[in-house]
Symmetry: C2
Subunit: 223 residues, 2 copies
DNA sequence: TGATTTTTATACTATCTCGCATAATATAAA
DNA sequence: TTTATATTATGCGAGATAGTATAAAAATCA
């Protein structure tokens, strides 16, 4: 899992100024792939099979990029895995952030958050994918300190978001005086984790929703 | 992952009658390994690195058995993985069953169950191992129908045990009238899952215990 | 002793794996 | 055009990997 540094120039449009300007054409042979869609394909593969069981040939086939192009664009397998994970996190965050920040009643917010989570975990044609963070934590990739840091960050970020949710709800009087936002936040994360794992094992959505609904009930009426 | 059937004669002591009789000696060259301890070593390896990242050479080195002996004793890699998982489940069940069946107050029982779970998840010299069921669910091995069935069974078994716990506690008046054993059981499993995953990412025991204690509080005073 | 049985030890094969070297290709600039 | 640049395409090479074939070793039985 440890590789040479290898500066992997993250490709950026050279002119951020010209908006829809006639694309200030790069110098050499044009790329035959779109970095964004290629990364999405790689992410999907890693989510399906995990780090170790996903080969560069698989990635090459899925992205349509041959191996040297993969290396040029994303670096080695480990770097590609990390970039995929970052992409996953960015997507998930983008999908949830507005709900976390909304001023809806706590129950509505939780319900919507879990609905989004289930959409993410259950997506994938060839079976549900689960949660990348949970997958990564469970894989041998977690032996890598950088990756473990990302996983821990993921936990902390989700915990914090839920805790803030409950704190605000409590301030607004939606929860009882004795409710502990910290404890409830961890329970909310635990519920995310349990449905992520179960989704991966192909537990049907109905059952997952029942688990989520029950958890919301307990959390929102907790003394 | 699909292999030829290959009858893997599970070796059994031929005479179950004679208790400490001079070991009715097998015919040929004696085995140089103890199947039980070899399986324990294999289990530890699979727990550390998962299915795909554990090679037969690793297993051979860890068990002290050369490859042909491994095949003779346990079958191919997939079969060894399955036998390791069964062993893990048997051990975990054995460690918890008496507590689940005990007549202690619900809080004590939960506390002891979680303590046992943390012992299992945090064991391992080279870092905590987490929960095999969660690891397997998250791995590509879950694509194997037989393995997925085992994972689902694992979830159901734990859910049931917790649900029964809460049902009995409710009957004994330890929980409020409105407490829902099913929902609480799923929350208890969720707590197991969240600490299993976090343990794997090396969250320290103190933090895991705090999460567990908070969860117990909420579950046992749930309206 | 010698034959039989069971396991171990060695080594082999065919395949996959990652990463990279080299050459071909397609564009912009001169 | 020619040159410079950036990407694609092909394929090599060292090493890992799963599984097996064959021979050696260590025991029991006759």
């Amino acid at each position: 899992m440890v590789q040479k540094p290898k500066k992997t120039s993250t490709i950026k449009a050279p002119s951020a100024t010209s908006d829809a300007a006639a694309a200030p054409r790069r110098r050499g042979r044009p790329r035959a792939y779109e970095p964004d869609v290629a990364l999405a394909k790689a992410l999907d593969l890693f989510r399906k099979d995990g780090f170790a069981a996903t080969s560069l040939d698989d990635l090459s086939a899925a992205t349509g990029m041959n191996r040297p192009s993969l290396y040029g664009a994303f670096g080695d397998k480990r770097e590609l895995y990390i970039k995929s994970y970052q992409r996953y996190r960015d997507d998930a965050r983008a999908a949830m952030i507005s709900v976390f920040r909304s001023e809806e009643p706590i129950r509505e917010r939780l319900k919507r958050i879990y609905a989004i989570a289930l959409d993410i975990y259950l997506s994938g044609e060839a079976g549900p994918r689960g949660c990348f963070t949970v997958m990564t934590a469970a894989s041998e990739a977690v032996a890598d300190p950088d990756i473990r840091t990302m996983v821990l960050d993921g936990f902390v970020e989700l915990d914090k978001a839920f805790i803030t949710c409950f704190r605000r709800a409590k301030e607004k009087g939606e929860l009882s005086e004795s409710a502990d936002p910290l404890v409830l936040g961890h329970l909310a994360s635990a519920t995310i984790h349990t449905v992520a794992i179960r989704a991966r094992a192909r537990v049907p959505r109905k059952e997952l929703e029942a688990i989520v609904d029950g958890a919301i009930d307990v959390m929102c009426r907790a003394a």
